[in-house]
């Protein structure tokens, strides 16, 4: 008994110490970026100046931004771009989820699968591929239309609506995912119960279906909106040339240009942060509201499919076309462009001209694979680090009663409000100030990724952690099993599905991430996504496409391997 008491005591101490360490780590990783941006926005001195560290603040930056027509324009553009893209993605997602889940359209399952498959194509490649399709100069679709009708440049991607189109299409898979899970959370018995009381279709829709689904749909719309506010690829690659400035690009250009405009960059960051915090607040409120409406049972749920009669062929063709645009077209055009001769200026070339020279050039060039290797390292490394930190957090939050554990949860989750450009800026400036030798290395990107991906990974782990009962652990403790054995024998096996799913998610997202990597890139720590951007800047779309195909291939290999591994350890359902 005494041994047990001592063991418990030791364990408790050990836990408290590691809890404190975790809190310190999270403050460092999460609170400092927030502070960094806020602080810089209240200073006219630049980081590195002595005055920057002094106590004394000014609103000069805000005043300057407010007086600047460009700020107002960026604000309007950001909101309008987000609204229109959200509407477009929502409409597409709604249509697809209706077709896939609620109708007897042929190939429904295939359509659903292909929509989600798009999620692994990196966003930057999607944007580039749409440029290859509808840019006024080289756009393939424009070229075909010109050949058919003689009209030049029918579409122009370098416009506001071009941006909306590309980003809207890009977000449809996310919209589809959100909308179909909102519908699936609703018990069809609730509608049937209304019918049985004598209510017709319309009254059931108005009084039962719509009010029940509204919070989840509202949350979905907000999330799409927030994602657009924070998006970077489309505004950077298309908005730059279309002269449509939004917050994210303003932060980037004010940071990246020489000399850096610290004041404006931080003010734009603050505006971005503010929008994101406010919208997220409403998002979580709606989400909680929606969860209250979810009935616990739904045990005999079978979605009722509408028989569309001959119309099912219309929906089938329409949704296959849409899915082709979402998933097939970007990949195919990239593949095609990678095979074009290096000196060609048009997207239409006779088939016999197609060549592998771009790939040859890639293989001949020294260091061409370094960025791919960097991305792989970042993917694997940050996924592992994030999962380790997050499991520890989830353990404290859900499985102990140590005071202070709630702070952990909050801290780990707070970084969801930090848009990537803001996060990138904060890390850049912080390590300009702090003499740690991470600038220009993969470490700085990895550290930023830790902050970026923690909240998402935490969700995967928390839900599995909650399923493990405290008694399990206490039973083991009473039986005198040392805690580490307990951890490996009881916790790890039960947590495995959540851990692997989270790891997988972070790995894919870290591999293809552009925004943070670009803001923190120097000569030696370029990732694959950054190289795509560089190549695009150089205007060589053949080399870019070849590299894009390589990037995609490496990602597929990584995904396949980790999928095979998680299969072996028995977690088919989660991913």
């Amino acid at each position: 008994m005494r041994r047990l008491a001592a063991l418990r005591h030791g364990l408790a101490n050990w836990r408290t110490v590691s809890l404190c360490l975790l809190i310190v780590l999270l403050i460092y990783q999460v609170i400092i970026p927030f502070l960094m941006i806020t602080w810089a926005s209240l200073k006219t001195a630049r980081p590195g100046d002595a005055a920057f560290m002094e106590w004394g603040f000014t609103l000069a930056n805000y005043v300057r931004a407010w007086a600047d027509a460009a700020f107002i324009e960026a604000t309007i553009n950001t909101l309008w771009f987000s609204l229109t893209s959200t509407v477009m993605a929502f409409a597409g997602g709604l249509f697809l989820s209706w077709v896939v889940d609620r109708t007897n359209t042929p190939f429904a399952r295939f359509i659903g699968m292909m929509t989600l498959a798009r999620i692994i194509i990196p966003g930057v490649l999607i944007t580039v591929s749409w440029i290859l399709l509808i840019s006024p100069n080289i756009g393939m679709i424009n070229a075909v239309l010109e050949w058919l009708t003689g009209i030049k440049a029918v579409f122009n991607v370098y416009t506001f609506w071009g941006m909306v189109w590309v980003h809207g299409i890009e977000m449809i898979p996310l919209a589809y995912l959100l909308i179909s899970s909102a519908f699936q959370a609703m018990d069809p018995r609730l509608e049937e119960a209304s019918t049985m009381t004598g209510a017709g279709t319309f009254r059931t829709l108005r009084r039962i279906s719509l009010p029940l689904i509204a919070p989840a749909i509202g949350a979905a719309l907000l999330l799409l909106f927030i994602s657009t506010v924070e998006t970077f690829e489309v505004p950077l690659l298309i908005g730059g040339r279309a002269d449509v400035r939004v917050y994210t690009t303003e932060v980037f250009f004010n940071t990246a240009r020489v000399p850096t405009d610290w004041g404006l960059a931080s003010t734009y960051s603050m505006a971005l942060l503010l929008i994101s915090v406010v919208l997220l607040y409403f998002y979580f409120r709606l989400l909680r509201h929606g969860e209250r409406y979810q009935t616990v049972t739904g045990k005999d749920y079978k979605p009722r499919r509408i028989d569309l009669g001959p119309w099912k062929y219309v929906t089938c063709v329409a949704s296959l076309l849409l899915v082709f645009m979402i998933t097939g077209l970007p990949f195919l055009i990239m593949l095609y462009a990678s095979l074009l001769p290096e000196d060609s200026v048009s997207m239409i070339e006779p088939l016999e001209m197609l060549t592998l020279e771009n790939f040859q050039a890639l293989f001949n060039e020294q260091d061409a694979f370094d960025p791919l290797w960097n991305s792989t390292l970042l993917g694997l490394g940050s996924a592992t680090a994030v999962m380790l930190v997050v499991s520890a957090i989830a353990y404290y939050v859900h499985k102990t009663r140590i005071p202070g554990r709630k702070i952990l949860d909050f801290l780990a989750f707070a970084s969801i409000a930090l848009p990537s450009v803001v996060l990138g800026t904060a890390f850049l400036w912080f390590y300009l100030l702090v003499p740690l030798p991470v600038l220009g290395t993969l470490w700085i990107i990895g550290l930023a990724y830790l902050t970026k991906f923690m909240p998402f990974a935490l969700r995967f782990v928390s839900s599995s952690m909650q399923q493990i009962h405290v008694e399990l652990e206490e039973a083991a403790q009473v039986a005198g099993v040392p805690w580490w054995k307990n951890f490996f024998r009881i916790f790890l096996p039960l947590l495995k599905p959540g851990l692997l799913a989270g790891w997988f998610w972070v790995m894919v997202h870290a591999f293809r991430e552009l925004t943070i990597a670009l803001m923190l890139s120097r000569a030696d720590n370029k990732t694959a996504a950054v190289v795509i951007y560089d190549l695009w800047e150089n205007g060589s779309f053949q080399a870019l496409s070849a590299f894009g195909v390589m990037m995609f291939t490496v990602l597929i290999v990584l995904v396949t391997i980790s999928h095979a591994i998680s299969r072996r350890y028995g977690i088919e359902e989660q991913t």
Binding site: E192, T195, M196, T197, L212, R292, Y293, T297
Partner: protein, 374 residues
């Protein structure tokens, strides 16, 4: 009154074709409670949903109070909201975004009533299920049993011509279940409502029904009063599904004559029991079904006497009001249910007998694993 004739419903998917309901027909007289009883997956819910109109049958006719609501040959299909039926779902299906009162009042909204009348009737329905104090509560903030009552009040409120219950008590815990069971019966009789009740729980069916219809694999096996179904089941399936029983295998030695018992040759000697179908022939393989409570202890009988069994006590458990025992008799295990004063020592040999009128002889049939699923 509800009349169902020749009802069939087939679910087709790419991989399979399930005849969930296969030629079912029955009648529910006005004011009666008829229960569809059977193991899960036998098509009870589907039958009920066809009556409700939530499922469109492939064949058959359904009439409610003389009006056809489904007539497949004539392609008539009245949509569910025009059938004036009330339904209580297995999962309650209480609308979580409304209060208790609104849940009930909603059922009256389509009826072109004055506000005050809606209020009065909704409150009346809530009173009937003893929830009058809860009118303004948000519906999700109720216990399972209370939600169940709201569902019943909602179904009752619109004065439907019949009520349909789909396993309404299966999500409640055991104690609440038996309470609600008697209350449902009281309500149904008080309001005098024609009802169809679906359940896989035989004790529930025995307790609340006027008639029980036993279903198996989409078809009706038999129909009868609860007492008949329990005492004299007409099939081996029913005998085994309802209550506890001993099924002793044997062959018919002498067929029934003028309503008298049949004689069956078993490993334990000759036994006599009733033949409820009156069609057994000499030499047929049968099972003799004896309820545990119909077995009585006797002294040593004459060797070769009819309806005599000898068994060794394997376990005996005192249950308060009764003693339950498991005996080993040759290859068979015999379950018995004695009065509370019987004392049994483990391993003791005892002699049993039973009244031929309390035993039934049923044609043997393969029972697969359907019953395990129930």
């Amino acid at each position: 009154m509800i009349i169902v004739e020749n009802l069939s419903k087939i679910f087709e998917s790419k991989t399979e074709r399930v005849a969930a309901v296969d030629g079912v027909g029955f009648t529910v007289e006005a004011g009666e409670m008829v229960t569809l009883l059977g193991p899960s997956g036998c098509g009870k819910t589907t039958t009920l949903r066809c009556v409700a109109g939530l499922e469109r049958p492939n064949d058959g006719r359904i009439q409610v109070d003389g009006a056809p609501v489904v007539d497949c040959p004539a392609k008539t299909f009245v949509p569910p909201h025009l059938r004036n039926l009330g339904m209580v779902f297995q999962s309650y299906a209480i609308w979580p975004h409304m209060t208790v009162f609104d849940n009930v009042a909603y059922a009256l909204e389509g009826k072109k009533l004055a506000r005050a009348e809606i209020r009065r009737r909704a409150n009346e329905a809530l009173e009937l299920v003893q929830l009058d104090g809860f009118a303004d509560r948000p519906a999700p903030r109720l216990s399972g049993g209370q939600q169940q009552r709201v569902a019943i009040a909602r179904a009752l409120a619109g004065s439907p011509s019949a009520l349909l219950f789909d396993e309404p008590l299966s999500n409640l815990d055991a104690k609440l279940r038996s309470e609600m069971r008697s209350e449902l019966r009281r309500l149904q009789q008080q309001v005098g409502l024609t009802s169809i009740y679906v359940t896989h729980d035989q004790s529930e069916a025995l307790a609340i029904s006027d008639w029980i219809i036993v279903m198996r694999a989409g078809r009706i096996v038999e129909r009868g009063r609860p007492t008949e179904i329990y005492r004299a089941p007409k099939s081996l399936f029913t005998a085994q599904f309802i209550g506890n029983t001993n099924l002793i295998p044997g062959t018919v030695k002498a067929a029934a004559q003028g309503g008298g018992p049949v004689r069956v040759e078993t490993a334990m000697g000759t036994m006599a029991g009733l033949d409820p179908n009156n069609d057994l022939k000499v030499g047929e393989a049968v099972r003799l079904s004896i309820r545990p409570e119909d077995l009585a202890i006797t002294g040593a009988g004459a060797p070769g006497a009819e309806n005599a069994l000898t068994g060794r006590v394997r376990v005996a458990t005192f249950q308060g009001s009764a003693v339950e025992a498991e005996l080993a008799a040759g290859e068979e295990t015999i379950q018995c249910h004695f009065g509370r004063d019987v004392e049994l020592a483990q391993g003791a040999e005892i002699n049993l007998t039973f009244d031929p009128l309390s035993a039934v002889v049923l044609r043997d049939e393969a029972l697969e694993d359907e019953l395990d699923a129930a």
